[in-house]
Amino acid sequence: MSLKNALAPFGIWARALARPYTIPVEDIMRAPADRYRGWHTNDAEACIGCGSCSDICQNAAIDMVVNRDATKGDTGLRPMVDYGRCCWCALCVDVCPSGSLGLSSEYTWVDKDPEVFRYVPGVDKKPWDDDTKGWHGGEWDLINHDRVPMSMLPGETRGQTWAEVVLGYSEEEAQREAARCLECGICTAACPAHMHIPEYIGAIRDGNYEQAVNLIYETNPMPEMCGKVCTRRCEDVCAHAKQGEPVAIRWLKRFATERFDDLREVIKADVAPIGVGKRVAVIGGGPSGITVAYYLAIRGFEVNLYEALPTLGGATFFGIPKYRFPMPSLEKQVDMLRGAGVKLHVNSPVDAALFEELRSTHDAVFIGAGLMRGKAMRVEGEDAPGVVNALTFLLEHHLRNNTDSDKVSKEPVVLPGMKVAVVGGGNTAIDAARVSLRLGASEVVISYRRRKEDMPADWEEIEDAEHENIQIDVQAIPLRIEQTPDGRLDLIWGPAEMVADKPGARPKPVLVEGVENHLVVDRIIGAIGQGPNLRWLSPEAQGTIADKWGWIKVNEDGMTGMPGVFAGGDLVNETADAISAIADGLRVVQGIPRWLGLQ
């Protein structure tokens, strides 16, 4: 030890009573500039755990850590910042799609424990959590909030043609839209089939279209259908939807599948032939039946598919109009079934006797018979001539126009020049209205009990209908139908008042008594919902697999109360859309081999 060091303690004591050299921090502390970038803040309830902040950080200062359960729309992760690496550049703030992340203006914090400088903003409470100064983004963003617009046929003229309304992206547009994807994967939770969305979007962005369609086929045997008409729950939860427009996931899937005229050579399955020697019968050629048939056939099962109609597709054939989902798109996907070796039996309705035969000649039976019964409006006068159910109307229209079926009259219900009223607010109502328009109706009115924002139909479909000059009357409760002396129909309706219901539920329409309005038309189409029809089964079979209304209950493998009989699709789930039917089919693709002890 040097002499200087040995004496140092005395030097210190010598100054014990003198004024300190150090200056208390409060004396010199100045308020930082308004936009000073200090410690992070995060609104943990608004954050969706997308991890974009972590991805962009050039210093690898952010880890995504588990904070809560993953839900549809939230990965449950939250960013944890390591201030040993942060340089306060705020890239993380400027990229945050939810706008939850910010930097407070607070920058002083002294502690002896280095570990405290690693925390989860917004979760680990800090004094600066509510600081509105600092940098909270919003003045510019590093992400593009606007989707690449889709070209469509103009609304004024397209009502006179059956041509497809949506024209699709060009390659350049698709790649530009695909590049907006943040790759967080939040969408995959909301998709009933949990498709590999960021992966196939990434492949589209990179121009690897074969890879994209193969990724899509991992979970979806009708992607061109979904690419055109899916209810796209994925887009509702897209991280971009928080402050801008969600990535056009549906249109990108459409783009990828439309690149190929024939997918049979492109899709490369690689699965063990576990089903060789086993037979499965599928009843119903809708999305659920197609899913079960395709994925079991590529696993070596002998699959017999029975469809009552001349064409496969189910409601996507007989319900969804061709200007949304054209026949060639459907046929392309049916070709995949043929390519996989599925034996297709069309014009083959299954009855009670055939059902029993199928049970005894096959190792498992799948029922995907859909909802084939249109619900009645239950108003007086409903049986007057000229009043039709939307399901029957659309089914007959599609059989007449798209098959050589001799089971329908040559003349459509709606004729040129007629005025048509459609009662209902779902996709079926919109489809019936737009088909009426294309059949030449001079005027089409949709009459709905609740408000426009309560309509179950896709908002884009509603907009499309409005662009075609279809009128939407809301808060209109049908009371009765009368025939006018000149042979027309008078839809008599009363106005509805919206009354708050249970919290979380939609407000209820309540009739304002004593007011009657008249809508005089030539045709009334009832589109107020569909229900199951299992009357083709024996009463015993119905009793074993379904409740008294015909809804089928299944276990986690998709099996009904009758051993070896599986079910899925609209008959089983409550969502009644194509992708949920596909998801049900996927459950059975795992359930049948498990039941047969094949895995």
Partner: protein
């Protein structure tokens, strides 16, 4: 501003000009003309203050760009003089005799880009990078992420969960075209 560019053009070849803002003009000149132009600007025009002096690595073109930002405080406007030099032999004439403050900029560019300004007093004296052995870090072929990875460890206990994986596991994402 454009008239001023013409005035310069009358004396020195201007390769391109870009009126970036009403109060900011950019021009490009050849390296041989750089020092004469800067000397002329300092002695004969309002642009006698060297506000900033730095470099850009145009690695694709095999060139560095020297950027001199001169400001005319009376007229409240600036002129950016851009000069491309060979990236393989990056040497330029010093301007420290015109602006003593250029010494620090030139010292910094030597350290950060490896551009040398012969005759400038503090060439090769460490500014920030004591004991630096790697290639100059502002060159674009310097791998910042790899350097950070090597030089700075991660605090123990750090774990990261990929959001996509978390969702896939939580919701049981599967594939049916391949056996997984």
């Amino acid at each position: 501003m454009n008239e001023f560019v013409q005035e310069i053009q009358a004396r020195f070849e201007v390769l391109w000009s870009n009126p970036q803002r009403p109060d900011l003009m950019q021009i490009g000149v050849r390296q041989v003309n750089a020092l004469p132009l800067l000397t002329w600007l300092k002695s004969n025009t309002g642009y006698f203050i060297l506000n900033h002096f730095s470099a850009v690595d145009w690695i694709e073109d095999g060139e560095f760009q020297l950027t001199y930002l001169l400001t005319d405080y009376a007229a409240r406007r600036s002129l950016m003089v851009c000069v491309r030099i060979d990236r393989a032999a990056p040497t330029a004439e010093s301007v420290h005799h015109l602006w003593p403050e250029a010494v620090t900029y030139e010292q910094e560019m030597f350290e950060m880009f490896g551009i040398s300004f012969p005759g400038s007093p503090r060439q090769g004296v460490d500014l920030l990078l004591e004991g630096w052995e790697d290639i100059p870090p502002m060159r674009r072929d310097f791998d910042t992420a790899a350097f950070a990875e090597e030089a700075f460890g991660f605090r123990p206990g750090r774990t990261h969960t990929n959001p996509r994986d978390r969702v896939a596991i939580a919701f049981g994402q599967k594939g049916f075209l391949h056996d997984h």
